[in-house]
């Protein structure tokens, strides 16, 4: 048993946990940047930019996120190939969409047809990260936009009274103060992000769900690759425990972070802390 659980394929399964953690580590800052950009755009004085920002923040409200996941992966792939096609093969005269096919010239393929397997995997994974970034950026934009509006108005008026410019008020007063209001929403978002990672499987990345199905299953009932019956139940139980653990750990750390950021703030939480300390 112990010997079986350390075979090469099992090792791939363990590595895929690393894939999930890597996705989390990259997606979270990407989504935060997108979200910040979206929120700033939604507050902009320039009308088209504001429309764009509002549209971006509103898009996740009505439509299921996995529809976006399925959509963006193909759309981004085709968009990139189309741009490369335009640049690299300007004298190509056939249409790109021929019936049910999407045809670009060989030099425009991404990744190139002759590149090694690892590049295909990296390309798929980057597409997945970008897709996650866009969708979770929209959620984060909602949260940050709300947080910016929650910063007390007098704080900004004081800054103006001191003669700060619009830009200075934004970067020195609004942004530092907004985080404490954004934190509950952002921690909720982090939990959601953790729980969205199994969707990587749908985007064609060989993640933990893929390997759990692969290793737990029996390819053929009689001649199985693996010395066991249908173990998928147990593999998925292990995944469930993994996610519950991640959730619990996040809860503990986010609680500590909230306590740190609340200290000294003019909010109800800050007031309660001050009283408890005094």
């Amino acid at each position: 048993m112990a010997c079986y659980l350390t075979t090469g394929k099992q090792m791939l399964f363990y590595w895929s946990f690393g894939t999930v953690l890597l996705l989390l580590a990259i997606t979270a800052p990407v989504a935060l940047i997108f979200g910040f950009g979206g929120a700033v755009a939604a507050r902009s004085h320039i009308l088209p930019l504001r429309w764009f920002g509002k549209g971006y923040t509103a898009m996740v409200r009505g439509v299921p996120d996995i529809a976006f996941f399925l959509f963006f992966v193909i759309a981004l792939d085709q968009g990139l190939e189309w741009i490369r096609h335009k640049v690299k093969c300007p004298d190509w005269d056939q249409p790109i969409r021929q019936g049910s096919d999407f045809i670009v010239c060989a030099q425009a393929k991404l990744p190139l047809g002759n590149s090694p397997q690892i590049w295909h995997e990296i390309y798929n994974f980057s597409l997945a990260i970008f897709t996650f970034g866009i969708v979770f950026g929209a959620f984060a934009a909602n949260v940050i936009y709300g947080a910016m509006r929650a910063v007390p108005r007098p704080q900004l008026e004081t800054a103006e009274a001191y003669g700060m410019s619009h830009r200075q008020t934004f970067w020195r007063i609004l942004v530092p103060q907004m985080w404490v209001y954004a934190l509950p929403g952002l921690s909720n978002l982090w939990m959601i992000l953790i729980k969205a990672t199994p969707l990587l499987f749908l985007l064609g990345v060989e993640d933990i769900v893929y390997w759990a199905r692969e290793l737990g299953g029996t390819a053929n009932p009689r001649f199985t690759d693996y010395p066991h019956g249908d173990w998928r139940l147990w593999y998925f139980l292990a995944l469930l425990v993994f996610y519950l653990g991640m959730t619990r750990i996040s809860e503990i750390y986010l609680g500590k972070l909230t306590a740190r950021l609340t200290r000294g703030q003019a909010t109800m939480g800050g007031e309660a802390m001050r009283r408890a300390g005094a």
Binding site: D65, I66, K195, F201, D230, Y243
Partner: protein, 267 residues
């Protein structure tokens, strides 16, 4: 082939009524709209039934989590933690394989492995856990004055719960619960992408959209159609829940009524 004929052929395709073969080539816009719309039947089926059944379990869970007796409180807390702390996607897979092995032991349980029943059970338990947490939060913030007033009127036990605690809890929880309902409908799109098989290609809206996108390799038509249907569904949910919210708040002055606010709540 006219559009009306397409609607006749494929309008109820997701239930297995009408043309058996899905269109294979020369897809028209009408076929996209009809088939994806037909798939929406499943999304509405899962969402409505899970919400209705989940509502009652959620109330029980909220009461359980609020109980002083640890034999009642602990199971409720664990139930809510397990279903809120793990991805719905994994829950679907786990439930499917669980039902599969149950089926081998007891053949009478085989309907559980179908999406129509098995996935519904998972969604029901899942929404009960999420709503249970919302109701618990609302239960904790029922104003003390309301409870004292109930005591002063001589209400106790079941009467106090039914006439004071429960309506107030619902009123406080309703904006968050609306949100939960919206995202439950969104979560129903996961059913046919997890372990549960779409028998005879009877799938939900996203299943058909994915079918079209795979066949035409053009995501720009089917997915916006799904988005269109879901925005309609979301607006309907907001309308219905808003009407209930107005009724729950009807005794309050205008400015004290709970406002609806969107908060992402994926699973």
């Amino acid at each position: 082939m006219s559009c009306l004929q397409t609607i006749g052929d494929y309008g109820l395709r997701s239930l297995g009524i009408g043309e058996r073969l899905l269109p294979r080539s020369d897809f028209t816009l009408c076929q996209h709209f009809t088939l994806i719309g037909s798939g929406m039947i499943w999304n509405i089926y899962f969402g409505v039934l899970a919400l209705l059944a989940g509502f009652f379990l959620a109330t029980a869970l909220a009461m359980g989590k609020n109980a002083t007796n640890p034999w009642v409180r602990k199971p409720a807390e664990w139930f809510i933690f397990v279903f809120r702390g793990s991805p719905l996607f994994i829950q679907f897979f786990l439930a499917y394989f669980l039902f599969l092995s149950l089926k081998q032991q007891i053949p009478a349980l085989s309907p559980l492995t179908s999406a129509a029943l098995g996935a519904l059970i998972v969604l029901f338990l899942n929404t009960a856990a999420y709503s249970g947490e919302i109701f618990y939060g609302a239960l904790r913030s029922v104003p003390r004055g309301d409870l004292e007033a109930a005591d002063a009127y001589g209400l106790s036990g079941w009467n106090k719960f039914r006439r004071v605690v429960w309506p107030t809890m619902l009123r406080l929880a309703w904006p968050a619960y609306t949100n939960e309902a919206i995202f439950l409908f969104h979560a129903t799109t996961l059913v046919f992408f997890s372990g549960f098989p779409a028998w005879q290609q009877r799938g939900d809206a996203l299943y058909y959209a994915n079918y079209f996108a795979d066949k035409t390799f053009n995501p720009f038509i089917p997915y916006p159609i799904v988005a269109f249907y879901f925005i309609l569904l979301t607006l309907t949910v907001i309308g219905v829940f808003g009407a209930i919210n107005r009724r729950l708040n009807r005794h309050l002055p205008q400015d004290q009524r709970a406002r609806m606010r969107m908060r992402p709540l994926l699973r």
